[in-house]
Symmetry: C2
Subunit: 139 residues, 2 copies
């Protein structure tokens, strides 16, 4: 598999995904997974999610920033895993960037709700597969 093919297909997979799976490591060393709304990304380098500040994931990432993000297209037997580090942000610019109509459902006080946080994931490496072919690349 050509690197350019894997990266092109990876970006297309992200762009058509409604959700991404976010991986973290809990305080006992166990992997955790949660589906997140697919909101924004900058190529394969940076991915942003929104979450509640009070959520278990925010506590976990404050303790351990190691993370992964996974996208899957089960009809095409295609998947992308990005491994990297995650930072919890609460600055005004990040909050406004990620805010979407209807987010009051999650954050009743609006864009300045203290329970609204932005998760900023930075990739270190990626693995894209399609069928039986695998391609690992640095990001």
């Amino acid at each position: 598999m050509e690197p350019t093919y894997a990266i092109t297909e990876s970006l297309a997979l992200i762009n058509r995904s409604k959700i991404a799976m976010l991986g973290s490591v809990d305080k006992n060393g166990y992997p955790n997974i949660k589906a997140m709304l697919n909101l924004e990304h900058d190529e394969l380098n940076t991915i942003w999610f929104s979450t509640n500040t009070s959520s278990k994931r925010v506590t976990q990432f404050h303790q351990n920033p190691k993370a992964c993000v996974y996208y899957v297209d089960q009809e095409r037997f295609m998947g992308l895993m990005l491994v990297g580090n995650l930072e919890v942000l609460q600055d005004s610019k990040s909050r406004q960037r990620l805010w979407r109509p209807g987010f009051e459902m999650y954050y009743p006080l609006g864009v300045d709700d203290p329970d609204y946080s932005v998760l900023c994931f930075t990739s270190v490496l990626g693995n894209f597969y399609h069928g039986l072919a695998n391609h690992t690349f640095e990001v």
Copy 2:
């Protein structure tokens, strides 16, 4: 949310899922995720997957058995995470139990292919969510 409701809905979610996301921790302490074919489970207690013995996941689980399994229904905003431990099996009974027509695509030598392994996951705890409601339970 009643515990019985969460468990009934969790089992229904597993039964209608084509894939499950398997979480592991790599040698550098990063969480990893991979989609697996949803094959067999015993209630919420034990879940079996098939994989290549030569795969990265088998190496990871030999080094660190901590695992999680995640099922998601993105249309219904519903998800189930099971956290527990995973054992790599190669005994004949386990191989035969998991074997499916067409698996020669992955394991050309058939049910005795040394590159065919069974992953046996045992749950410790679960978390089921539907919309904004969360329920954590011991398994």
